[in-house]
């Protein structure tokens, strides 16, 4: 599919290498009526890579993330995903049940507000166990053992396994949301401002956790953040978005230390040094 905003049908291969990318996006556009949410976005993502999407609010970051994660139907473009279970898939023509299955198994979505990503009426352990149960796990002891192991992994006291998420602090809720996603060993995680609503001291802990989990599990991550210091610590590569378009993309430290686009320069020069 082609839309008017995309000048050329084909984008040059961003990484002309032999191993195929996990996620391959070309000419992705999303319009809300006549208002463009994101325009002509293209990138490839490989296993183990963390891609940061930065830009101020309203730049199209979250729209793009929601399109990628299959939560929002793009107007045009293609999103190809190499599934472990189902082979190469074009997500835009992928049947809904298959998408739902991917969401429960190979993908994870971490939302800015953990309350949007958690089930608040059930215990922490049940939150972690939900994905496993949806995959047919029925042995209570095994599910509980997984829940305890993941609580420990995200540094939540195992004694809290039966408590409701609402009794947790914001940082703990966010870590619980991450554990709930990771329990099925996803290969691709989408994160929308995961450190957004947290105190700075809590952010640091979460950042360190995300960084080591991404590395140890070889996760591919697309992370939306407006915080450039979060992007610097977590992301291998950055895409800078403005008014729905990617205005600059590349190696994280290169984009932040030698920004070329006027908008990136403005973003970088606006950071308060600590």
């Amino acid at each position: 599919m082609q839309c008017a905003a995309c000048p050329a049908p084909e984008h040059p291969e961003l990484f002309p290498e032999n191993d195929p990318p996990l996620l391959s996006v070309r000419g992705l556009c999303k319009y809300f009526g006549s208002h463009p949410g994101c325009l002509d976005v293209a990138f490839d993502l490989w296993p183990g890579e963390v891609l940061g999407i930065v830009g101020e609010s309203g730049s199209g970051k979250t729209t793009l993330l929601r399109c990628l994660a299959g939560r929002l139907a793009p107007t045009s473009g293609s999103v190809r995903y190499r599934s472990e279970q189902f082979g190469a898939l074009d997500l835009l023509s992928c049947p809904e049940p298959l998408l739902r299955r991917l969401h429960r198994t190979e993908w994870g979505l971490v939302r800015q507000n953990p309350r949007d990503g958690l089930r608040l009426a059930v215990s922490a352990g049940a939150n972690i166990g939900e994905r496993l149960m949806s995959l047919g796990w029925r042995n209570y002891a095994e599910i509980r053992a997984q829940a305890l192991a993941w609580l420990e992994r995200v540094e939540i006291d195992a004694a809290r396994v039966d408590d409701l998420p609402l009794t947790f602090s914001g940082g703990m809720q966010q870590r619980l949301q991450i554990a709930r996603n990771l329990v099925t060993s996803p290969r691709l995680m989408f994160m929308d401002e995961p450190t957004g609503g947290l105190d700075v001291s809590v952010q640091a802990r979460l950042l360190d956790l995300l960084r080591s989990l991404a590395r140890e599990l070889g996760l591919a991550v697309v992370i939306v953040t407006h915080d450039l210091s979060v992007a610097r610590i977590l992301a291998h590569r950055l895409m800078v978005m403005r008014r729905g378009r990617v205005v600059e993309a590349g190696l994280t430290d290169q984009v932040l230390d030698d920004p070329h686009h006027p908008y990136t320069q403005l973003l970088v020069s606006s950071i308060l040094e600590v």
Binding site: E17, A204, R205, D208, R211, H236, R237, D258, P262, Q265
Partner: protein, 235 residues
């Protein structure tokens, strides 16, 4: 594929900055610059402050993006041009081939000093225990006591942070090392240790490019001096 018999070869490199937030001011840092460094050799960049030494060094690390020219490094069996390489390729070169020791440690919250130094040693084929032992011995040589190894360096002094950074850079057997004033805030004993480390790296065949303000250090390690060309006046 291009062949390369040296560690690093720079051809016709130019770098300018355009400051869009300051009325589009253009700063030409250097133009058409060429140099090469052999394995086992240390090249010292020299020139007055503002002559572009750090900009050149950062360009060699692909931290800055040059306007023109090539930066060829031998990576494994092949050659990579860092001026055009894709981000993944640059990261692969940095992981295996190209080390950079800056003056300042970029501290990651909660990661202890020992882990910072041991990180990536698996790339050199070391098991975890070996990696920790190797990292400890380097920290010891740089006079960082074991009481600090388990702490995150956020609260360390500037000199201690710099020594963590040096230990991290020299822990790995990088074939190419870039050093940006590695002895800037060190005392005499630690300066001497850094000189030793640089000499050891040369002996194992590393190609080194460095900025050394301390003339004594520079004379002790540099085989050749590359003088930054004087800047052309902007038109």
């Amino acid at each position: 594929m291009t062949t390369l018999d040296t560690g690093i070869r720079v051809e016709g490199l130019s770098k300018s900055f355009i400051l869009h937030t300051q009325g589009g001011a253009r700063i030409d840092v250097f133009r058409d610059l060429s140099l090469h460094v052999e394995a086992g050799e240390c090249l010292a960049l020299s020139g007055p402050s503002g002559s572009g030494k750090s900009t050149l060094l950062r360009s060699l690390y692909a931290n800055y993006k040059p306007d023109a020219g090539r930066i060829l490094v031998r990576h494994g069996d092949g050659v990579v041009d860092l001026s055009t390489a894709a981000p993944r390729a640059v990261l692969a070169v940095r992981r295996r081939t190209l080390g950079y020791v800056s003056q300042f440690l970029r501290v990651i919250p909660r990661v202890p000093a020992l882990e910072i130094v041991a990180e990536g040693l698996g790339e050199d084929g070391l098991e975890r225990e070996e990696a920790l032992a190797h990292a400890s011995s380097l920290l010891r040589r740089l006079r960082i006591g074991p009481e600090l190894w388990r702490l995150a360096p956020k609260t360390f002094s500037g000199g201690e942070q710099q020594r963590i950074n040096i230990a991290r850079g020299f822990a790995r057997g990088y074939p190419i090392l870039l050093l940006d004033e590695p002895t800037a805030s060190l005392d005499a004993a630690n300066r001497a240790t850094v000189v030793e480390l640089i000499r050891e790296a040369k002996t194992r065949g590393a190609a080194i490019v460095g900025i050394f303000h301390d003339e004594e250090v520079r004379d002790a390690v540099a085989d050749r001096i590359f003088t930054m060309p004087s800047k052309e006046r902007p038109q």
